[in-house]
Amino acid sequence: MKKTWVLMAVLSLLSGPLYGADLSLNGFLQANYSYSVTRSNPDGGDLKWAEERLQLRLDLSGEALRLFSKTDLYYDHIQEEADPEFRELYLDYTAEVFDLRAGRQVITWGLGDLLFINDVFPKDYEAFFSGRPLEYLKKGVDGLKVGIYPGPVSMEVVVIPFFEPSNFPDARRFWLYDPMPMVAEREEEEPSSSIDNTELAVRVYGDLAGFDTSLYLYRGFFRQPSMMPRSPSGVTLFYPELSVYGVSLQGRAFDGILSLEAGYYDSRQDRDGSDPVVPNSQTRFLVGYQRQLREDLTAAVQYYAEYMHRYGAYEGHLPAGLPKDRRLSQLVSLRLTQLLMHQTLRLSFFSFWSPSEGDYLINPEVRYSFTDSVWAAAGAVIFGGGEAWSRFGQLDEDDNLYIQLRYEF
């Protein structure tokens, strides 16, 4: 929170030159509820999510400078508390061959649909699993992004001095697999803000024979914590060092859009794979294909896999009693989207299924725009299959029905 106020103060000083720029104020009022249908939550409640929310988007645009803020105010019925949430707050500077964006910002890289290889920025998986609107899957980072556009090849460099982890389902509301249920003392240790810990992400991109091609490089940390035993009764949750080297291509092929993406996850603290606490290095890859079947009906399929390197070392050092990951973990997704009634009614179906683990996630949704400013969506998130510790299998008892209502202005 302190960080945010500092940021705000800096940005408001910088906004002096924006005097006289165009001002626009937009936003929405939203109600969003999600109800557990298989079983009450671990804390006894039945709601996975229940809130009303006001979002204000302020845009102050000059010719070269632009100030943007996206602030949410919400009332959470589960925690019974109201809070502001500074989702984005940044200053843009645009010059002929480069631009800058400083502040809290959402960055999306890579080609996956709900699958992330080179999008190394923080996510909120709890939001997705609780039936919140898709934009809440992405979390902002506090940093600086520089875009450089010298010619046919462009470049983005992101510097993040403040680490932001991804958000995972809350154990009070979600039934989750816990490898150490007896351990009550959990201490979280985030990478401190220092020059050494400053994250760096680079994307170089351009057109290659009609394909949008990107090369990626990241040096930072895993955003999912690892558990390290601290004492017989306590563990430390920490974020191991990670580098990612990746590539992606997207273009027209076979009467549709073909996407290819791959990344090498270099687990810098466990390169030989012998540390059971730190994830092994992996190669992740994705093949996606999207096609319009007929007017307003689109189908998209993805195949995604994570291949674990040094598997022998992993197997050899895995403590007894802990579930063993597969060498090759696979996931297949299908998305169908049908628009009806002049694109005011949207029926969508999304599913993940793992051929290796056997678990699945299903997310059907109906969304209707009553007017240009009012829409509602209702859907379900259903989990199951696999083992008690697999990605979606552990959420077997967390099926929920959700509703989203929004008035946009």
Partner: protein, 277 residues
Amino acid sequence: MVYNPLQRKQIEEVKMSRFAVVLLVMLLPLQASAVTAKDIMKRSQAAFLYPGRDFKARVVMKLIDKSGRERIRELTMLRKNYGAPGGEQKYFIYFFRPADVKGMTFMVYKYPEKDDDRWLYVPAIDMVRRIAARDKRSSFVGSDFTYEDISGRDIEDDNHELLREEPLDGRDCFVIRSTPKGEDGDYLYRLSWIEKGSFLPLKEEYYDLKGQLHRVFTADEVKEIEGFPTVTERTMRNVRSGHRTEVRFVTVDYDIGIKDSLFSERFLRRPPKKWIR
């Protein structure tokens, strides 16, 4: 087989006359309609979809259902031509309304003989995506206009035939029937009333595969802007559903010097204020 010189002569005469008929059939429509009809459509395409080196318009679309309920789409459209009329074009579209798509940008590279490249930028999650664009006959943002209605259809995709010349609301027009050559169309043919002076289409009727009138386009207001006759108000009416879309160009500018670099991921993510305003 008995040789009969008379018979042979008769056969040759028949062959000759058949040849002549075939020749006539081939030549007649070519001379009288096909070449000129295609020529008219080419000039119409140039006048309607390719005027200027580039173009910018602030566009308000009203989607009106048969009970009169309106939905508004407001956008800025920028277009730049590459090569002669009928050739490649690039489009850049920025949405102002409705509120849930404000700030979205959409980019199309249109090629005459292959599928478009289309990209969409979703600001809420800072995401650029390619969009599958196989079907140019799909509705544009839910309106009665298709992508093809907005960016045009290849002249070579249809056979064009000049049916007649007649006045429409006091303006002299060519009436042309265009019939899709392939199976790709969702209509049997369309009739176009092309004004003789400006070569703008003043009216188009689309007949569905059963030959029933399906959609009607009308140019409701034509103004000369910076030397280019421009359809500033138009309507596409779906006769079957009673739904219609009225489009008004609030502002129009030609030859404003749009740079090639505008049509890039950089500006899709950060649309320059001076171009979208």
